[in-house]
Subunit: 325 residues, 2 copies
Amino acid sequence: MTPPRFDILGIGNAIVDILAEVEEGFLGAQSMIKGSMELIDAGRTDALYALMPPAVQTSGGSVANTAAVAGQMGARAAFIGVVAGDEFGAIFRHDIRGSGVHHPTPPSTGGDPTARCLILVTPDGQRTMNTFLGVSSSLAPHHLDHALIADSAISYLEGFLFYVPDSAAASRRAAEIAHAAGRRVAISLSDFLCVERNLDAFQTMVRDHVDILFANEKELAALTGLEDFEEAADVVRGQVEIAALTRGEHGSVIFRGEERFDVAPVQAKVVDTTGAGDAYAAGFMTALTAGRDLPTCGRWASRAAAETISRMGARPPGDLSYLRG
Amino acid sequence: MTPPRFDILGIGNAIVDILAEVEEGFLGAQSMIKGSMELIDAGRTDALYALMPPAVQTSGGSVANTAAVAGQMGARAAFIGVVAGDEFGAIFRHDIRGSGVHHPTPPSTGGDPTARCLILVTPDGQRTMNTFLGVSSSLAPHHLDHALIADSAISYLEGFLFYVPDSAAASRRAAEIAHAAGRRVAISLSDFLCVERNLDAFQTMVRDHVDILFANEKELAALTGLEDFEEAADVVRGQVEIAALTRGEHGSVIFRGEERFDVAPVQAKVVDTTGAGDAYAAGFMTALTAGRDLPTCGRWASRAAAETISRMGARPPGDLSYLRG
């Protein structure tokens, strides 16, 4: 097998984040579940945006964030995801390329705008997300560059793709292509509501197609139906090669077969948790594809997550190679 | 004379800022003068943007920033300035309204896009600006709402308007309308290069139309041709009712006729100086229109400036009434 040209190929939604700080009461008044992600339509997007305080716009998207942070940490990263030919699309394309990420997907010429995520950051640093997928939801098997997938050590997917049938089909197809080329497939479960609502698809995907699983405690419980972390972890460690399970301020646990590594969290003042899980996955896979052992993967992951939550937005700026080590 | 409905009416360019952190060498390689503002065309905008690292998008515009911060501090603020019906225009309109600022100018239906300013922030916190004015440069006397000007205690203008003949004409016309209604006119000189390049227009404007002058040391030197601060200050104190002259880390000095007040700077860790002068003017005029004395005006101004330079972007988020006092 020839060495891959890329370490990490992300396949996911291409989104621009619109972040604003709000009080706790804002979430309740809008019937939002703190820490979750809901899909919203164009009308709801306009209505909610009108209610939001002045905001900051940055590139986002869960897998795209991971690709960007990995690129900034020095991994050879690529990303497949669809934007429109509008101003938000230009922002997304500029930023992901500026992070050193190869992004070959051409802008769509259709009528839907680039995806946007309205993110409400509460004083405790938690983020609650409302996503209008726009043209990003057109991601389908025909967008997959087979040669690129075959040339990437890890194809990395996001659970959010399972909200859209064509995008879910693209996820499964990408996994098949990767495995046929002898490469690995990783996935983040993304969000517990997303897992609950697409449970069969998630369970089948993890059992049949995933080598490396990223999940937090709530997502793991949703996937397995088990509230107890140890019991739930026992289920998935039998299904995937590596499970990296995050536990918020308690750090994370990495399982590989009979091996278990408990990873201490890296302390950080919580400003905005947007992108913490994305950065964790970036650090982890950057170390893994650099040939590091699992405790090192966990450490790079935790350092990347800590850097991300200590500031607004999902992608810390600049060269992030200092997070290696 | 009836009490005005608004404290501060800003008239200026409506801009979205695109901010990125760069090393010092970036400025030299692009032949930029640190701390200055240059107008650039659409082609140069695309070329420069392509060279910039991943960025953050926020609402900007010098006078617009002042109106927003004043609104967040509790002043009754309004703003006249032109955006397009594009995504950047939507960002600008959303944010200025979210700061409590009345913005009656309808989006243009012409072909030019909303203005954008590419801002390079160096490790010393200095910002260097490259502005593509787009549709904002269409600001002309016909955009002036005479009743609104007559109903505002202070009409506040920016020197940047003098780069565009129609916008300069709008500035002079706004001043005439304000004075005919018995109101005051304030201006920020904006940028020393702008003053140097439009010197006659600036000198005439300040001498004939301005009641309240905001300038930093370099702008003051450009206006008067005098390098010595005290000599230059002596010139303008004879021309305007109030001169608020900022001196960077040395604080500021306020002159009114024979009165002089030296204002100590408020200490802050410098992250990004974008908007520091805008916030100073906001704090100053918020206090002035609230009937406070000049030392208090200087204090609110310095507090607002310090808050702004301690973070990325020109407008600190949320309720800024804590800056009063």
